[in-house]
């Protein structure tokens, strides 16, 4: 009996623990509660305001962004910013859960997937703050437009990227190969590759990137087609078939590795890159990842423009503003949030700290300041970016639900590579997938 009583006491304590924890706020900070007070009043500039901001990145980006927040808080002592930062693993899962749970951060870093959030009404229209809190005076027009949809401004770009053909300069010189010529056509490149593999001793000229979504879009754009235009799919089966056939030729000629050797090496980051392992000479990489690739290897890298097409209607290249800072529709303090965005993209001290980590900044003034900074690779990237910007044609809107399409393009490309489907059949799959992605967004 005595023990039974003891048992009961233990249970009661347990329950009290639960109840106490339920009723109290568990000692967490007041960021949420304080931001909800006084929400209906107009915010005078002296009122204390706290904002939450969320971004993904790695060590360098976290360090820099935290410094910028500190600077901002010094300049605006009444605004307190609580940062929530993490790697890109799980970032969008957490964000979606927070939005679905009615607890979104005020400021969110989004990628080119931001239209997915616009169509689900999660983002605030920033137009009222543009020209007021947020200055876009020094911004390139295309960079501003990239953050706008349906005549509303939803995001301000934190940096732009461009695709580049990255080559292993050391390996090229060792093999006694000539440097890449400017304005090479696809045919020139193939010829160069065929020559290269004879001198490369078992290595390959290019990585197989037939499944790389934006590479295919580059190819389509040269024919003045694209994934998505005027709210519809703007390419057809024949276009994709040509693309797959070209890669089949490369494979047959032995200038790209077999699918089996490359299926798990997507070249999307240094850990899955044959370029980094020194097994291929060239591979297509986004400009913001180039320094990551360089710092993962000893050989020196160079960057060159992508091949042109003989019958090309326009340059396939485009400047891609990536990584947008957006404000949640639920934010109680959009004005202050807008002030922070402005600080991030225009303040010279802040932008110097942030550097090119999120891509090349959209403000010309900032770009001019930064262009002399950084490592050798950073300078190479800047130089390449300027060259690319000179040739690039205007960008197209990203295909909606591109994540899902990406997986299906990957499957289609692999099924050609592994001889499971003909290029015509695979091309049909790609068009079907694109149409489904567009249909889903409506």
């Amino acid at each position: 009996m005595k023990l039974q009583k003891k048992m009961l006491t233990v249970l009661l304590i347990l329950m009290m623990f639960v109840v106490a924890a339920c009723s109290g706020n568990g000692g967490n900070d007041g960021a949420n509660s304080s931001s909800s007070s006084n929400s209906n009043k107009k915010n005078s500039s002296n009122e204390n305001v706290s904002l939450r901001i969320m971004w993904w990145g790695s060590q360098a980006r976290h360090d820099a962004t935290l410094k910028v927040i500190e600077l901002f808080e010094k300049k605006y002592p009444n605004i307190k910013i609580s940062p929530e930062y993490m790697g890109n693993d799980g970032y969008f899962d957490k964000l979606a859960t927070q939005i679905a749970g009615g607890n979104p951060p005020d400021l969110m870093q989004l990628g080119n997937n931001y239209p997915d959030y616009v169509s689900k009404e999660a983002l605030l229209d920033l137009s009222p703050y543009v020209g007021q809190e947020i200055s876009i005076e020094n911004f390139d027009q295309n960079v501003v437009e990239a953050g706008a949809m349906n005549d509303k401004q939803y995001g301000i770009s934190l940096g732009s990227n461009v695709l580049g053909l990255v080559y292993n300069k050391t390996l090229m010189e060792q093999a006694g190969l000539e440097p890449l010529k400017e304005n090479m056509t696809w045919e020139d490149l193939e010829a160069y590759g065929k020559d290269a593999v004879t001198k490369l001793d078992g290595k390959f000229a290019f990585a197989d990137q037939s499944f790389f979504t934006h590479y295919l879009n580059y190819f389509l754009r040269q024919q003045d087609k694209t994934f998505y235009r005027d709210e519809a799919v703007a390419f057809n089966q024949e276009d994709v078939e040509k693309w797959f056939d070209m890669w089949s030729n490369f494979r047959a000629a032995g200038i790209v590795p077999s699918s089996e050797a490359s299926a798990s090496m997507s070249e999307t980051s240094p850990d899955v890159s044959l370029l980094v392992q020194g097994k291929v000479l060239m591979s297509l990489v986004w400009s913001n990842q180039m320094s990551g690739f360089q710092s993962a290897m000893q050989d020196e890298l160079g960057v060159s423009l992508l091949p042109t097409a003989k019958d090309e209607k326009r340059s396939g290249l485009w400047i891609q503003p990536s990584q947008f800072m957006t404000i949640s529709k639920e934010s109680k303090h959009p004005k202050e949030a807008a002030l922070f965005i402005n600080f991030m993209v225009n303040d010279l001290e802040a932008t110097k700290i942030l550097g090119n980590d999120r891509g090349i900044p959209g403000s010309e003034e900032v770009r001019n300041m930064l262009s002399g900074d950084g490592s050798d690779m950073d300078k190479k990237i800047y130089e390449y970016f300027n060259t690319a910007a000179g040739v690039a044609s205007s960008m197209d809107r990203e295909l909606p639900n591109i994540g899902e399409f990406d997986g299906q393009l990957n499957n289609a490309a692999m099924s050609v590579g592994f001889d499971a489907k003909s290029s015509a059949e695979a091309a049909v799959d790609v068009v079907t997938a694109a149409e489904a992605a567009v249909a889903k967004s409506k």
Binding site: L11, V18, D93, D116, N411, F418
Partner: protein, 320 residues
């Protein structure tokens, strides 16, 4: 079992007459057990049940995570079986995985547990070494590692080539073999099952063996007549839990394939597809429907194993 209850009734003797309220009677009979179960009841009703029921409700909607959902009836279920080849592929991949990895992993775990149980010097260190892969769990390093082990020029292939002169395929990149490399990963992380077997072996009273030795039984007879029957509740546990967790396997495919289930959907596990649908493609309603179908599948298999257990599991308490 009834004795406990009877004893309690005796202790509180004077209440135990006919004519008292049935609820009181019920409580008298069950109070001890229900008090022991109180934490579980609190957890079940307050924390587990509500999210489960919400997900069941969501499975009949087009919930896209961010905007309010609409009722769509059985559409999600219909789409799953009639209009989604990738779903069927994921089902197939998962069944293959479950039926190959569970027996292999448990067989290996039991074998090693028996070896590790006694009689070898340096056992502590061996045991720790064999447990290390399990400690690595879902570490980010696994993906890089697995390509190093099973990739084209990886450790396994170099070994096969140098020792036997066999040119083996790339186990990770080839859609025909990618799944088998994940089965290997699962077997390689057999440590948890091994620990449970070890704990079970340790619980067998030593005098059982002593007694049978006196009767002149050999090692193999001992294994059949003592080890297997006394260990059978633990075997049942491992079989059911491995089955459930293999049906829900997510991390290995997510990490090794970079979250894509490739190449060619050959490692597109059920829950990986469910996760992609729910979080990456914004179809949480559909994902919820998938989850409930999986629950039914797992439930059927669990029930079948339990039904069969009456034939091969013996408990120390004599129950079934």
């Amino acid at each position: 079992m009834n004795q406990i209850v009877a004893k309690q009734k005796n202790r509180t003797g004077h209440h135990d007459r006919s004519g008292i309220h049935p609820i009181v009677k019920w409580w008298k009979r069950n109070s001890t057990a229900y008090l022991f179960l109180l934490p579980w009841f609190l957890g079940f009703f307050a924390l587990t049940l509500i999210p489960m029921i919400s997900s069941l409700y969501l499975s009949f909607t087009d919930f896209n995570l961010l905007t309010p959902s609409n009722w769509v009836g059985l559409d999600n279920y219909d789409k799953m079986f009639n209009h989604d080849p990738r779903y069927l592929k994921s089902l197939q991949v998962t069944f293959l995985y479950v039926f190959s990895s569970v027996p292999l992993k448990l067989g290996f775990a039991l074998l090693v547990a028996m070896l590790m149980n006694k009689g070898i010097k340096g056992l502590g260190i061996y045991r720790t070494i064999y447990y290390i892969p399990t400690l690595l769990g879902g570490s980010v390093a696994i993906s890089v590692l697995w390509r190093k082990m099973f990739g084209g020029g990886g450790v396994i292939n170099s070994f096969l080539l140098d020792t036997f002169g066999i040119h083996a395929p790339d186990w990770v990149s080839n859609p025909k073999y990618a799944l088998s490399s994940l089965v290997a990963l699962s077997v390689w992380q057999f440590g948890s099952s091994m620990i449970i077997f070890l704990a079970g072996l340790k619980q067998i009273p030593q005098d059982y063996y002593e007694a049978s030795q006196i009767d002149g039984a050999g090692k193999f007879r001992q294994f059949l007549n003592i080890t297997i029957p006394t260990l059978s509740p633990v075997v049942l546990f491992n079989v059911i839990m491995q089955m459930i967790s293999s049906f829900q396997a997510f991390t290995p495919a997510f990490i090794v394939s970079g979250g894509k289930g490739g190449p060619l959907d050959s490692t597109m596990f059920y829950t990986l597809y469910l996760y992609l649908k729910g979080f990456s493609f914004f179809e949480m309603g559909y994902a919820s429907a998938m989850a409930w179908v999986l629950l039914v599948i797992i439930g059927i298999f669990t029930a079948l194993i339990f039904a069969s257990s009456k034939r091969w599991v013996t408990y120390g308490d004599g129950g079934e």
